[in-house]
């Protein structure tokens, strides 16, 4: 049977204990919005102010792939890519180089997104399990990010309720950005299935 994977977003709650596990399918379009607050609501509240200097950040977003229909045998080798276009001058979306633990038995990699609502989120390297980041738009179809990894048994997904580890994103804005409601970007996950 062909598997079904949904893209989920964990938010709220506390470290290692997300308050909401949100299927992003029903939210949009767009289904993910970078903002200076920790929720899944698609609205124009809590935008990221353009700073006079330095960098303002969105709250980080901890996404993962959740299995809602199981494969015959397994899913592995998940990869992520963008179209390489980006959101324009002064705006970057970073993706963490590490994949904090998320699986059917553990939320150990979950760190509550923090910051000052309406002003800036805390930088993503404040996350306990993240030490470095990369511009997400450097990952394209011919140069995919290998991940998010899988920490389920055998490092594969083979049952309903299993998931990938977290893949964590954050938008960063500097003073060269222009005020705007950004156009939507489409991101893609590929994976191997048997």
């Amino acid at each position: 049977m062909v598997a079904t994977l949904n893209v989920y977003f964990d938010f709220g709650g506390s470290d290692n204990n997300p308050g909401t596990e949100q299927n992003t399918d029903g939210l949009g379009p767009p289904n993910i919005r970078f903002k200076t607050n920790d929720n899944a609501t698609i609205d124009t509240n809590d935008p990221i102010p353009i700073p006079a200097s330095g960098t303002n950040y969105s709250y980080w977003k901890q996404l993962y792939l959740y299995c809602s229909a199981a494969p015959d045998t397994q899913i592995d080798n998940i990869r992520f890519h963008t179209d390489g276009g980006g959101f324009g001058t002064g705006i970057t979306v970073n993706v963490a180089d590490q994949f904090p633990v998320k699986n059917s038995g553990s939320d150990a990699g979950y760190d509550l997104a923090t910051g000052t609502p309406g002003t800036t989120g805390d930088v993503m390297t404040d996350h306990t399990d993240i030490s470095s980041v990369t511009d997400a738009f450097t990952y394209t179809s011919g140069s995919k990010l290998s991940g998010p990894s899988i920490s389920e048994s055998g490092n594969i997904i083979n049952a309903i309720g299993e998931s990938s580890n977290y893949i964590v994103f954050q938008m960063a804005v500097i003073n060269t950005a222009s005020p705007q409601d950004l156009a939507n970007e489409t991101w893609t996950f590929t994976y191997d299935e048997i």
Binding site: V2, L5, N31, T186, T188, F189, T190, D192, E193
Partner: protein, 136 residues
């Protein structure tokens, strides 16, 4: 797309069907008896691979999941089937072991690309993670 295996004794086994509860799962393939592997689309054989001579079969489907039309959905799916085979031969008077790889990438459009190795910088032709039963 479905697969079918043909064993050296001529018996055939189709990919497990949840509807009819028949067939076998990929891990249930008896690799000691494996002679041919076929990919079948709408009743027509798309690819047949000869697997005699200690060739180690591998197979995957590779979907792409994008957010389109208000939901995440599979926008494209391709199929990977191939084998690896260890061969021994003399190079410069010394016995050497080499690995021969053959891969067929099958798109739903009907296009088939045959390669001698994976291509890590290609949108579709990058490597799989080999299972224990696919190891040489």
């Amino acid at each position: 797309m479905q697969w079918k295996v043909i064993y050296s004794d001529g018996t055939e086994h189709h990919q497990h069907s949840h509807g009819t509860k028949t067939g076998i799962q990929y891990p249930e393939i008896d690799r000691d008896k494996l002679a041919k592997f076929q990919l079948i689309s709408n009743g027509q054989t798309v690819v047949t691979i000869d697997l005699t001579g200690n060739k180690k079969l591998f197979y995957r489907s590779r979907p792409a999941l994008s957010y389109v039309g208000g939901k995440w959905q599979t926008t494209q799916r391709m199929y990977i089937v191939g084998y690896r085979q260890k061969k021994r031969g003399k190079i410069g008077g010394k016995w050497t072991s080499t690995v021969v790889t053959k891969i067929w990438f099958v798109f739903e459009s009907g296009e088939i690309v045959e390669l001698d190795d994976f291509q890590e910088d290609h949108p579709w032709f990058y490597s799989i993670k080999f299972r224990e039963d696919e190891q040489l």
